[in-house]
């Protein structure tokens, strides 16, 4: 496995009023691995994801992807640099078809002019054909090819989650952030999701997985980072993290008491 980090985050800090949601978090993610970020509710997992993707900028710190500084860049610029994501609460484009949802992202590297669109010349038709082809490929990977022409809003919940993954894939990312992808899925659906994640890893995509379901994470992750109250309290292989006393106390311990 190549050891060069594709994401390096240094001192990432995010405050909401008096609350420090992220407190100087450092994170290195090696290229091609599945990196999980776990932690109790409100520990800063999604805040970290938002800071990485530019959805909600960090107040301080440095974040690089593939050596390029992305701190405070607009999200679409970060997306074009090869970072795609899905959302904890589903955010599909409900007025578009399933295929068109994916095409939005597939077209992100294609520059086109209004004139080309209006006269609909050969160059424009070629571009649109490429976008469609790439989008159908992405739908194929997550198993939604058969529903390409349906309205996205008509998909059942679990398939809407898969559609978000297909959309993220279509921009040909080097890094994919998945924010609680198994939320609301049943056992079978979660298993299929794991299959999909394995497929993506095999394609060389680095995956950053934020997940509540610890059991789900441990099986597929190469590395696990644990957040608690905005601080990174542990990092390592799943086995190392599971033995870590701090983690057991902060996260697993508390869960057990709740359960």
């Amino acid at each position: 496995m190549s050891a060069s980090p594709i994401i390096t985050a240094r001192g990432v800090t995010r405050r909401f009023g008096g609350l420090t949601a992220l407190d100087a978090v450092d994170l290195d993610v090696d290229s091609g691995i599945v990196q999980a970020i776990i932690g109790p509710n409100g520990s800063g997992k999604t805040t970290l994801l938002n800071a990485l993707s530019g959805a909600s900028h960090a107040d301080a710190g440095s974040i690089t992807i593939d050596g390029k500084e992305i701190f405070r860049l607009k999200p679409h610029r970060i997306a074009r640099l090869g970072l795609a994501r899905t959302f904890q609460t589903i955010r599909i484009f409900t007025d578009l078809s399933v295929l068109e949802n994916v095409e939005v992202a597939a077209g992100c590297h294609t520059r086109t002019s209004l004139l080309d669109i209006v006269v609909s010349n050969a160059r424009q038709k070629q571009r649109e054909a490429e976008i469609e082809h790439r989008s159908r490929e992405a739908l194929e990977i997550v198993g939604l090819a058969g529903r390409a022409d349906d309205r996205a809003a008509q998909l059942p919940y679990a398939q809407q989650r898969l559609l978000e993954i297909a959309r993220a894939l279509a921009s040909r990312p080097s890094v994919l952030l998945l924010d609680e992808p198994a939320a609301g899925m049943n056992m079978t659906e979660s298993m299929m999701l794991l299959d999909t994640i394995a497929k993506l890893k095999a394609r060389g995509i680095t995956i950053l997985l934020v997940e509540h379901n610890v059991r789900l994470v441990m099986g597929i992750s190469d590395r696990v980072a644990v957040l608690d109250f905005g601080r990174k309290i542990a990092e390592g292989t799943p086995a190392e993290v599971q033995r870590n006393a701090l983690v057991i106390e902060a996260y697993l311990g508390r869960r057990h008491r709740h359960a």
């Binding site: 993707s53 959805a55 959302f87 955010r91 484009f93 939005v104 992100c108 209004l114 959309r167």
Partner: protein, 307 residues
């Protein structure tokens, strides 16, 4: 099949009625349809509330009226109108569309009022409330169309062109980016869509539609006055879009034609027509929230369920 039927019907109307008044009314309905198609880019697809569409319409009309009266060849007027509204829309859109929520709505209401006040008070140039008369008509390659029927066909051709361009934009990466921006700005951004650019483009393209319709208005009606481009008109255009069906190209045309003809059809009611008109709009919004254009698909869905 259906579009062909509609086109045939549209072409045949002047043969069925020789009434110049009805044809003139249809001409205004067609112009309104072009303006509403323009409004659909920013509001129907991109989800930005724009009350400046009537002002862009007026800006285009007055630009053409003044240029034509100053003796410029007709062919230059659409270009000039388009450039003027393009500059105005960028001046409004670039600062406000970076911000989310309702800044554009507020800014465009203010803009509409400014345009109206300038037209009313700059009398030596704009003619004030009495407007501008005897505007030179369309003149292209030595052809000078005369009469309502000739203009009807010209405007119909312009509408077809406007529909074609709108359909092409809808099915391009730009059209998808617009709708994605409306559905979820953050998901669009994270999919690589520059949402600010998309919003500005949608707003600008819509303004150009209104500007060009304004140019055609001035040179086919040959008379402009501030009443036709007031804030009331801006709200009427928005109503046409909502009643016809937000985001539906066909809906824009249906809404514009229906709400242009309806007040005339209800004229026998005297002042009561407004009550019926208002009720009609409410009934459509309540029973078919997707607008008149959605009724066909609602019926189809019900049939499928019944089977």
């Amino acid at each position: 099949m259906l579009p062909a039927l509609c086109a045939a019907a549209a072409l045949a109307i002047p043969l069925a009625t020789g009434d110049a008044y009805i044809i003139q009314l249809l001409n205004i309905a067609i112009l309104n349809a072009i303006v509403v198609l323009g409004l659909n880019f920013a509001t129907g697809w991109t989800g930005q509330i724009n009350f400046g569409q009537a002002a862009f319409y007026g800006l285009g009309a007055y630009t053409t009226a003044l240029a034509a009266k100053a003796g410029l060849p007709w062919i230059a007027t659409p270009l000039l109108s388009a450039i003027v509204v393009m500059i105005a829309s960028l001046a409004l859109g670039v600062p406000t569309l970076r911000l989310r929520t309702y800044y554009l709505a507020m800014t465009t209401i203010g803009f509409g009022e400014i345009v109206r006040l300038v037209i009313v008070h700059w009398e030596p140039v704009t003619g004030g409330t009495s407007g501008l008369r005897a505007i030179p008509g369309i003149s292209l390659f030595g052809l000078k169309p005369e009469g309502e029927i000739a203009h009807y066909y010209i405007l119909l051709a312009a509408l077809v062109l406007a529909l074609l361009v709108a359909a092409r934009i809808r099915h391009s990466s730009l059209g998808r980016a617009m709708i994605a921006t409306k559905n979820s700005e953050i998901a669009a951004e994270q999919s690589g869509v520059d949402t600010t650019r998309t919003k500005v483009l949608a707003f600008m393209i819509g303004a150009v539609y209104a500007g060009l319709a304004g140019c055609l208005y001035a040179s086919s009606i040959r008379f402009v006055s501030p009443d036709s481009f007031s804030g009331t008109q801006a709200i009427l255009l928005m109503t046409m879009l909502i009643v016809g069906g937000m985001g539906s190209i066909v809906g824009c045309v249906i809404g514009a034609v229906a709400l242009t003809l309806l007040p005339e059809a209800l004229r026998f009611l005297g002042q009561w027509y407004l009550v019926l008109y208002g009720l009609g709009v409410i009934v459509v919004i309540v029973l078919a929230p997707g607008g008149l254009a959605s009724i066909a698909s609602m019926v189809r869905l019900r049939e499928r369920r019944a089977r």
